[in-house]
Amino acid sequence: MSELKTLYKEGVWVNNPALVQLLGLCPLLAVTSTITNALGLGLATLLVLVGSNISVSIVRNWVPKDIRIPVFVMIIAGFVTIVQLLMNAYTYGLYQSLGIFIPLIVTNCAIIGRAEAYASKNPVHLSAFDGLMMGLGFMIVLVVLGAMRELIGQGTLFDSADLLLGPWAQSLRIEVFNFDNQFLLAILPPGAFLGLGLLIAAKNVIDAQIKSKRVAPPEAEKGPRARVTSLT
């Protein structure tokens, strides 16, 4: 039970793939201009991550160490292709608006990273849960960033959510502000970098506060840590 709790904490907060490991930034920065796109890519990544973690964990005892990387890549590419085909078939509009970033999930290092670091060493149910939590952590960051950029950039939330969720979702659209001109900085890629930077900063502030609230036992004076870079 505690293993599951650790995995949950690691994936969503402590070792979040987007905020701490900084993996998969290419799709993260490129598609987060609206919540819908962010949620779509987040779900696709989540599915691939869970699928690949489960498969890697199942085959982990049969794959010799020397060829594990090509096998993992094959498994991941297979899952991405399957997710791509399914999205093409069932969420066509979203498939078009995500475009190249669905096949690019293959190159998301978070996925092969989890396959190598966790799933290849742990049993199936834990690997599945790890994939789910890592995927969830990634998706939450995508959605929060998408919400920030959509809100600041075009003053709406859940714009064209019907592409992902079907026609009923058109009513989800909230128009918070009405601009004559969109705030371009938020929509263009620099806005994504700034937004991600702010999110990482916010996470660090929260972490620091949690740390300072704990009654920390006075630490023994340590010698200076060896540095490999100069101080200047």
């Binding site: 010799p64 020397d66 060829i67 096998v71 590419a77 078939a89 066509y92 950039g153 001109n181």
Partner: protein, 214 residues
């Protein structure tokens, strides 16, 4: 020793390749019909945007000719859909491309009626700047609907330009290149449709579903 381990690893890799390929192939087979249906539906909805479906009675998305003409942009083989009612020509829906946008090609769909006027224009694909040039999308701005019911008199029709160049079309604040490219491309496509109207209706039917518009 090394040979046998190579053979073993090779065999394992082959087995994985076969399994994953088989899996992808079977999912592909399962979704192929649905994907084709989605593409057909998307095409039909695109055509509906530019031409009122009540004006024709043939299956527009399956009646087309493929034409190469420099007035339709720099690429060969553009698809032209033919709308008929009671087997009489009603309108042509022309796919055309302009390379003169601000970033990359702009793909357009223009419907021209038999009397030479425009029934509708839509941008089907573009990479213009969000917030500036993307106002050519009907989702962002009604600008593209101002083409409806207009016609082109001749090659040197002065009204077919943005207002900055003395024409009748609004440019956008901060973006003149995009509307200028769209206006001139639509003008050429309309002239093309007017001059080739009968010839295109006489041409044999082709495979219409657009696959390569990337």
């Amino acid at each position: 020793m090394i040979i046998s381990s190579m053979a073993k690893n090779g065999a394992i890799l082959t087995a994985f390749a076969l399994v994953t390929t088989g899996l992808v192939a079977s999912i592909d087979a399962l979704t192929a019909d649905k994907i084709a249906e989605q593409e057909q539906q998307y095409l039909t909805s695109q055509l509906q945007e530019v031409l009122d479906p009540s004006t024709y009675d043939n299956e527009l998305s399956k009646d087309c000719a493929i034409i190469s003409d420099e007035r339709l942009g720099p690429y060969a083989n553009q698809i032209i859909y033919r709308a008929r009612k009671n087997n009489k020509p009603v309108a042509l829906v022309v796919r055309h491309v302009t390379p003169n946008g601000y970033s990359g090609d702009i793909n357009l769909l223009t419907a021209v009626l038999s009397n030479g006027t425009i029934a509708g224009v839509r941008v089907t694909k573009h990479e213009e700047t969000p917030g500036l040039g993307d106002k050519v999308e009907v989702k962002k701005s009604p600008w593209i609907t101002t083409f409806k019911s207009l016609t082109v008199q001749s090659e040197d029709d002065a009204r077919w330009a943005v207002k900055k160049d003395g024409g009748q079309f609004d440019q956008f604040t901060g973006a003149t290149i995009t509307p200028r490219a769209v206006v001139s491309s639509v003008k050429k496509a309309v002239l093309f449709a007017q001059s080739e109207f009968d010839a295109i209706f006489a041409a044999p039917n082709a495979e219409c579903l657009e696959v390569t518009n990337e």
